[in-house]
């Protein structure tokens, strides 16, 4: 049996993040090349109930680190747990989602293990010898780099959310669950999370949304974002924004799509009143379907759009909201 693939499956509040299941799915596809075991590791304060979901999504072995001290993310504690596990298992690869947690944990882990680190991958293959070849967007998505790890050992990768698909859940008996014993006293958490302040109103998170409705200067006034919020609510979408309206103070920075904002890969991106500056296009060009609504037929956004409507967004967006509601009611 070849060395296993270790997948860090992120959870918050006792719920697995979808991107962890996506990483598990990709690990299973790669493991066919190397006939490796796929080992899931979950860290948190209440994770015992997650084993069935992990087994159903392809984990052949499950490691749990469960302790009240692990309620919040701690880069020091989490790194120590995963690094110590990796030293014992000698995995060919360590995979996780490119989330705020994954992109924090992976570099610290890579420095501790002296490992190759490939962040925010959108394609991942394994050579016969076990070396990973990753494709990762660079320059804000204007180009892609294909990189290869020199040594097929403990290669660390973070996967961009919503790009890889999880395995179709297949009811599987949970065979192997091990609880990791960690002596928390021996690890001094150097930086400590005091609290998590939730963003108000239970807003949908941009990087996790399958549909995003985004607005730019064409909305003319900050309160006109209400039109987009209505459409987003009909579609079950998150609301994004261009840099121009974030810089003008209409929307918080966490809503900004593009360079110096979020890079997103939703199934559907609806750009309303966004002309399409190169920095914005870089952040959303990997969306599967792009709809552009703009009154300027020469706006660069139309070059990327799957479907475009040239016209007045104040007329079109409310009509679209009604049509979507009708469709959903059917």
């Amino acid at each position: 049996m070849a060395n296993p693939i270790l997948v860090f499956c992120e959870q918050r509040d006792g719920r697995l993040k979808r991107v962890g299941l996506e990483a598990l799915g990709q690990a299973c596809r790669l493991s066919k090349m190397s006939s490796s075991d796929v080992v899931a590791i979950v860290v948190g304060s209440s994770v015992g109930s997650l084993t069935q979901e992990l087994a159903d999504h392809g984990a052949s072995r499950i490691l749990l680190a469960e302790d009240p001290a692990l309620t919040y993310y701690s880069s020091e504690l989490f790194t120590t747990i995963v690094a110590d596990t990796a030293k014992a298992l000698e995995p060919v690869a360590i995979m996780m989602g490119a989330t705020s947690m994954g992109k924090d944990l992976a570099p610290k882990l890579a420095a501790r293990l002296k490992s190759a680190l490939m962040q925010d991958c959108v394609a991942l293959e394994m050579e016969a010898g076990g070396s990973l070849i990753a494709t990762r967007p660079i320059y804000g998505g204007k180009l892609r780099a294909i990189v290869k790890a020199k040594r097929p050992m403990m290669q660390i990768v973070t996967l961009r959310p919503s790009v890889f698909s999880p395995l179709k859940p297949n009811p599987t008996p949970v065979v192997s669950v091990e609880r990791l014993t960690v002596s928390y006293e021996s690890v001094r958490p150097m930086a400590r999370v005091h609290e998590i302040q939730q963003t108000v109103g239970g807003k949908k998170e941009l990087t996790e949304a399958t549909i995003i409705v985004s607005g730019g200067r064409g909305l003319k006034e900050p309160q006109n974002f209400k039109l987009l919020e209505d459409l987003a609510s009909a579609l079950g979408a998150a609301v994004g924004a261009s840099r121009a309206v974030v810089d003008a103070g209409w929307r918080p920075h966490s809503d900004q799509v593009g360079l110096t904002g979020q890079t997103v890969s939703p199934q559907l991106y609806v750009a309303c009143g966004i002309s399409g500056a190169i920095q914005h296009l870089a952040g959303m060009s990997s969306a599967r379907t792009i709809v552009a609504i703009n009154n300027n037929p020469n706006a660069p956004i139309f070059k990327l759009a799957t479907y475009g409507i040239v016209g007045d967004l104040f007329e079109i967006v409310p009509l679209l909201t009604e049509e979507v509601k009708k469709l959903k009611a059917e």
């Binding site: 070849i133 660079i138 930086a191 579609l235 920095q279």
Partner: protein, 267 residues
């Protein structure tokens, strides 16, 4: 308080990029290069901390990571903004490295300097890695808080409290000094260098440190020490040709919803 900011020079974000013929680099001739936008937040934050405390000094540090790069210019921009000292790490042995070797070189240099707080941008907008700052903290054995959009320094208790942006919320993190912070947009508004600042920065001496200054083995850094190898660059996959839906607004919207439902199957 001693503050050190690590910066990188990158192509301006509005640049149109082309690949070299062999596909292993971008065409750099004719591009405008700037201080990485996230690093500007780091420089600004260091200057504001110095101003708030009424004392302290701000050192900027940059690594020449490519033969065709002008980090001197980026360092002078930071001096013009108000930094006190600039150090350039430059040695052919550093070329062709990856995130790990970059962190090794920076950590080796930082061990020769004293500091209370290290500031980085949350990522450089060329490699989009967001790794080096965190790797440096681990190599130096100090705490880090990444992607910070609010920062308070408590000089008495020698701690920082940082707000870190995560999905759907903010993590409030406390760390003892010395610590490393990576900076996110929203932290501050970077100042423009003043004209006297620019004139003054032109006269200033940049310290240049090479491999021997930081006593690091040449095989540990650069392409030899790297764990990653670049195979090639490629353009993003072309998008399918789109279409403009004609007709009056009501009919166009009906057709759009039909296409999204039946053809694209996304709603």
């Amino acid at each position: 308080m001693k503050l050190i900011v690590c910066i990188k020079q990158v192509p301006a974000t509005e640049s149109k990029l082309a690949m070299t013929r062999d596909g292993t680099d971008i065409e750099r001739a004719g591009l405008t290069f700037v201080v990485n936008p996230y690093d500007e937040f780091a420089v600004e934050e260091a200057l504001q901390i110095r101003e708030r405390l009424g004392s302290g000094d701000v050192t900027v540090l940059s690594l020449r990571s490519h033969a065709v790069q002008n980090p001197e210019q980026a360092l002078r921009t930071c001096l013009a903004m108000g930094a006190d000292r600039a150090i350039l790490l430059s040695d052919p042995a550093f070329d062709g490295g990856d995130n790990y070797t970059t962190a090794l070189v920076l950590a080796a240099a930082l061990r020769r300097l004293s500091f209370d707080l290290l500031l980085f941008g949350k990522q450089a907008v060329d490699d989009d890695d967001g790794a080096v700052g965190i790797q440096v903290a681990e190599l130096l054995g100090i705490p880090h808080v990444a992607v910070v959009n609010k920062l308070e320094v408590d000089r008495q208790n020698k701690t920082v409290v940082a707000h870190r942006q995560i999905e759907g919320g903010i993590e409030v993190v406390e760390a003892p000094l010395p610590a490393l912070i990576t900076c996110q947009k929203g932290l501050n508004e970077p100042r423009y260098p003043s004209l006297p600042g620019i004139m003054n920065a032109k006269q200033r001496l940049l310290e240049v440190w090479n491999r021997e200054t930081i006593e690091i083995a040449s095989e540990a850094v650069g392409s030899g020490g790297a764990e990653l190898k670049l195979v090639r660059l490629e353009p993003p996959p072309p998008r399918p040709i789109g279409r403009i839906i004609p007709d009056d607004a009501a009919a166009a919207v009906q057709e759009l919803v039909r296409l999204l439902h039946e053809e694209a199957k996304v709603i």
